[in-house]
């Protein structure tokens, strides 16, 4: 009797097992791996969890009062005073070459044109499509025409009013190239 029952149920159980372990995957399912011996890093990678630190992150915040290598500190605050001070003291260490200006244009189109527009008039796509409500500053206004490259460099690095700081996204040399492009190309073209 018991044997018969088991035999009767066996196919059903087998089918159920196979369906639950089927190869049809949802989008959240990564699927199976075949001998993943060397596929996963034994070392902790930048973004992985790390049980050795109390906050559980592998990436560390630099200890207080230290500066990481390759990081250029921008000591001027985002206030109007900081901006004026930066504009007066900072000067572009790079020489203006066509190559740098072209690179500046490339960087400008990645980081700036969304708000300030490809021609620098502050009519970027984010504003004209009404997705971003605050009118971005025009880079070809009289005020900006008079501003030195250090002023543009400072605003990119530290931000100004609603514009956030972009210093953590763009390297110093690239920021200078953008400033160079804005001064020499964007503003230069409007004179003609």
């Amino acid at each position: 009797m018991i044997h018969k029952r088991i035999i009767r149920f066996l196919p059903a159980v087998l089918c159920l097992l196979m369906i639950t372990t089927s190869c049809d995957r949802t989008r959240n399912d990564k699927g199976y791996e075949y001998f993943p011996d060397m596929a996963h890093s034994l070392a902790y990678e930048s973004y992985t969890e790390n049980p050795n630190f109390p906050d559980g992150n592998t990436m560390r915040i630099p200890p207080e009062n230290t500066v990481s290598r390759e990081i250029e500190v921008h000591p001027y605050p985002a206030s109007p005073e900081g901006r004026a001070e930066a504009a007066a003291t900072l000067s572009n260490p790079l020489e203006a070459t066509a190559e740098f200006i072209a690179e500046g244009e490339r960087q400008y189109n990645i980081f700036c044109s969304g708000c300030h527009g490809t021609s620098g008039d502050g009519e970027g796509h984010l504003y004209t499509s009404k997705r971003y409500a605050v009118k971005p500053a025009s880079l070809i206004s009289e005020k900006m025409m008079a501003a030195p490259e250090g002023d543009i460099y400072h605003v990119i690095s530290a931000g100004y009013q609603v514009m956030g700081a972009h210093g953590h996204m763009i390297r110093p040399a690239e920021r200078w190239k953008i400033a160079m492009f804005v001064k020499r190309e964007l503003q230069g073209n409007t004179f003609k």
């Binding site: 196979m18 089927s22 949802t26 699927g31 791996e33 993943p36 930048s46 609603v162 956030g164």
Partner: protein
Amino acid sequence: MKHTIRKKGVIPGIMLFSVLLFLLMPEQLQAQDGRQLFEKHCTICHKIGEGKLVGPDLKDITQRRERDWLVRFIRNSKEMIDAGDPLAVQVFEENNKVPMQAFDNLSGEEINSIIDYIEKWEPAKPVEFQADVTKRDGFTEKEIMRGERMFYGLIPFENGGTTACNSCHVTTKTDTLNWNPSAHELAHSFMEEGGMDLYASLADPQSAAMQKAHGEYKLSGEEMYYIAAYLSNLDQETPRPFKTFPSRFLLFVVFGILMTLALIDLIFTRIIKYRFIHGIILLVGIAIHFNLAVTEAQSLSRTKDYAPDQPIKFSHRIHAGDNQTDCRYCHTVADYSKSAGFPSNDVCLNCHNVVREGRNSGKFEINKIFRAENSGKPIEWIRIHNMQEHVFFSHAQHVNAGKIECETCHGPVAEMDIMKQFSDLSMGWCINCHRDTRVNFKDNNYYSTYMKLHDDLKSGRIDSVTVEQIGGLDCMKCHY
């Protein structure tokens, strides 16, 4: 007798109620209007009672300034400054000389309703409700059960709206895109430290998307309490996984059975006389089985089409597609680093300190950024493209040096609401591209050393090239 008395009381009651409604409605509507207008036009630069943002704090502004002056200033402040209005110039000077945007699209009534709203503004009071509105745990079993029934629409709400909450806030995982937060997400953000104030947002929907969806549901305090009870309990449960229909597996089984039957008939029973029928069934069956086996074997260790639920419903279609943001605006390190990098909260906040409301998801998803920023707890994005550890891949080499477009490997990201792995990242896929891609020696400075060596060899300045000259002594050639 009892019935007649009741009926008599009902009609005057209704009349009185509608008269009351009629009397109360316009004022309420206006107040609502003022608030909405204020939130739409003013909150980007102004706060009430919370200090200066871009423009000054507007608390008690009506006591400090004449209403007439305010209306003119809101309409067009630049004109007043240019005309030399002393007060306007003073305000202009005090606020870093940033003129206020002109609002000549607003009618006088609308501006007045905004000023009314500011005048009548009071610090937010906790929602009037007898039970403890900050209560998050310690609900009784009965309260949780009642909340669950309400959530599933089994108990209608007192003030109308019988639709089940779970028709939008689903309780299972889904495979499709659902902009509404799922029940578990609601539960989690309600229970999280510094999380969503469920009572406040149910009583007063904060975003346009939520106003549209929740507009007709006016929950009483008691009902909110039960819903909170259910959600607090739900947070401890894991959502039921989404299961797909095992179509490929069934195909495999069906053809397995058909082939077995065909074989049995061919050898033993011989019911079907024409043998080519057996042949066709066997051939098709074998073809399908092999095809399934091969595709399955190929997809082992590869995670093509993997599109996990991310902690925030971030849509690449909206950000990269509709907003036309360059990939590298957010993935800044792709130019310099091995990985393209997860953008930090600061990158999100560059825009989202102003854009605080999504078109599809309201404030629920964007608030998660602020919560992470305030608590310092990182947003745990899930990495989709995982190259095996034994393969060295660098974005810098491909994006910066090779000038390969992001879409070449990642596919039409600007059309993906849910980001998925587009390429299978297999070795064959890498090699095929490396075979076909023509290196741009002319315009790409990265390869100038090779060009120089080539020219030197040609002109006879050198007779051979050492490994060192092509970068063989770089540390990372061996130690990566």
